[in-house]
């Protein structure tokens, strides 16, 4: 960021009187781009979800607005903005208004460390993964407040369930990401991806590094699915029990915020899984650093988005094929199975890294053949 500011001031000397304004402007532009991406992805996510759901259930899905219904999400967005924003008289006015913003902030702040490409990242924080865990804890507060402020039994129950679920599954999610951190020796998302490059191609991925990290990927996907409150873990909004859970009383664009946050979460989960286990933006058998900067960024962006979107499709596919769990089954699964398994994995990876000096199975095999 400082280099970019210096470059701009060098090009336009008139700006040298206020370098902080240039920095602020650059930060604003980056934030705007990231926010726009998240918004458009949320819209595209709803379209994808409806199309895949329709295919799975033998229906057609949205096909009226634009070619094959591609502009449906714009129509939905306009509808949500134009609709009346109803605040129930019995609701707590301030908290009811604030809750969607908290959830929205918590979900979207995670995009800061999503590594889109070779050098395409809003801020390569050195606590990247840990930062994501920290900011997403705002979501549980937002969900609780939304449930309580609505002053409605269903909302309240949904909010309580959601918060209990998010708090419980935060532990397995964090522990399941640890193997990638241990192998890379860094919490930064870019460092983790860089550690998965090299001559081995896809076998350089953390997924194939050792048996524990292979298992960890699946544990992460299951736990993260639960943390985003999606089927088969969608008991906070279970339509058949709670109408719509914590967002029952919301309408208009505030309801839209809940939906955007949900799809933003889905993308962040897929992006983190891609970065930590599937090699991120590494172009197989190519060293991105040796390509011209534009091509390296474009190619790596393409590779990253392809992997992340494939995982998004898997998450949607799971939602429309599995029934949902019961509340007690959900809690039992978290505390009796997921947490011990992730702890076991943590121990296993630590020992592996210690014994084999950080080398993975593919590297060990490669070293046998010289």
């Amino acid at each position: 960021m400082e280099q970019l500011t210096a470059l701009i001031i060098q090009k336009v000397p008139a700006l040298a009187v206020a370098p902080w304004a240039v920095t602020l402007l650059l930060i604003g532009i980056v934030a705007f781009i990231i926010l726009q991406f998240a918004m458009v992805f949320a819209g595209f996510g709803t379209y994808l979800e409806r199309k895949i759901a329709a295919d799975i259930q033998g229906r057609i899905g949205p096909n009226r607005v634009g070619p094959i219904g591609l502009l449906q999400f714009l129509a939905d967005g306009v509808k949500l903005i134009l609709k009346e924003d109803i605040i129930p008289t019995a609701a707590d006015n301030h908290l009811f208004r604030m809750a969607p913003y908290l959830i929205f902030t918590g979900s979207f702040a995670a995009f800061v460390v999503v590594p889109f490409g070779f050098s395409l990242i809003a801020a390569d924080l050195n606590i990247g993964i840990y930062y994501v865990m920290a900011v997403t804890s705002l979501v549980s507060i937002g969900v609780l407040l939304a449930g309580w402020a609505s002053n409605n039994k269903w909302s309240m129950l949904g909010g309580m369930r959601a918060a209990a679920q998010i708090v419980s599954y935060e532990i397995p999610v964090g522990m399941a990401l640890i193997p990638a951190v241990l192998v890379a020796g860094s919490l930064s998302t870019q460092d983790i991806i860089r550690s998965q490059g090299g001559f081995l191609g896809i076998f350089g991925w953390n997924l194939f590094h050792n048996p524990f990290s292979f298992f960890s990927f699946f544990l992460y996907m299951v736990a993260a699915l639960a943390e985003t409150n999606r089927t088969p873990f969608d008991i906070p909004e279970a339509e058949s029990e709670l109408v719509s859970g914590y967002n029952t009383e919301y309408s208009g664009i505030r309801f839209g915020f809940f939906f955007m946050a949900e799809y933003a979460d889905v993308f962040v989960v897929s992006a983190l899984a891609t970065a930590c286990f599937l090699g991120g933006w590494q172009i197989p058998f190519f060293n991105a650093a040796s390509l011209p900067a534009v091509w390296a960024n474009l190619l790596s962006l393409g590779v990253f988005m392809a992997k992340a979107l494939a995982l998004v499709c898997v998450i949607i596919w799971i939602r429309w094929t599995l029934p949902r769990l019961r509340v007690d089954q959900l809690m039992r699964m978290s505390w009796k199975y997921m947490v011990p398994l992730t702890f076991f994995n943590f121990l296993g990876v630590s020992l592996w890294v210690l014994i084999f000096k950080g080398k993975g199975i593919p590297q060990l095999i490669a070293s046998i053949f010289g």
Binding site: W20, T23, D92, H94, L95, M98, L125, N126, I127, Y130, Y131, M133, A134, V135, T136, S137, L138, S140, I141, L144, L145, W148, M156, M160, A163, A164, V167, S168, E170, L187, V327, D328, Q329, L330, M331, R332, S334, W335, K336
Partner: protein, 175 residues
């Protein structure tokens, strides 16, 4: 620039702390606490303690504040301020507060603080980890054993009496 950010963050911290102390509705106090925690996390970032800031958010916002909110929601008629937040013993508490304020401002003004100029924003996680595993290993382990004991105790207390309840709800363990 940094000074401006510092002023804004401290204002956020202090104003929301005043809301925590002064508001008659417990829920609003809890929400005020959320912004206090966020302000303090921001101050940590300014002091180049990024790991500490994230831990602050994770533990206090994601854990402790959620527990506080659970406790508040589960109590009945919570928004009735006469029940939830009554004021007792104004004179003694005012004396204690003024005395404490005097003591702390005296300490803050008269202590010779080690001032460090030109703070560099270097990664702290590696150093922290090394210190926790070498110099501070014993305190670290003692604290973890204490927390584990608290965890087991909570699980034991929330367990229904054996024999009385044949079908115990598994949900209890999740709390």
């Amino acid at each position: 620039m940094v000074d401006l950010v510092f002023v804004l963050l401290s204002m956020l911290t202090v104003v929301s702390a005043l809301i925590v102390a002064g508001n008659s509705n417990v829920i609003y106090s809890a929400v005020g606490l959320l912004f206090t925690f966020m302000g303090v996390a921001g101050l940590y970032v300014l002091a180049s303690a990024d790991f500490l800031a994230a831990t602050q958010m994770l533990v206090y916002v994601g854990g402790i504040l959620v527990l506080i909110l659970f406790a508040v929601f589960l109590s009945n008629r919570i928004s009735d301020s006469k029940l939830s937040n009554p004021t007792h013993m104004r004179v003694p508490s005012a004396i204690v507060c003024i005395a404490l304020f005097g003591l702390m401002s005296h300490a803050a003004v008269n202590t010779e603080w080690a001032v460090k100029t030109g703070v560099e924003y270097a990664p702290t996680t590696a150093v922290l980890g090394r210190l926790l595993m070498t110099k501070y290993l014993l305190p670290f382990e003692v604290v973890s054993v204490l927390l584990l004991a608290a965890l087991i105790g909570a699980a034991l207390l929330s367990r229904p009496e054996s024999g009385k309840a044949a079908c115990k709800p598994d949900m209890e363990e999740g709390k």
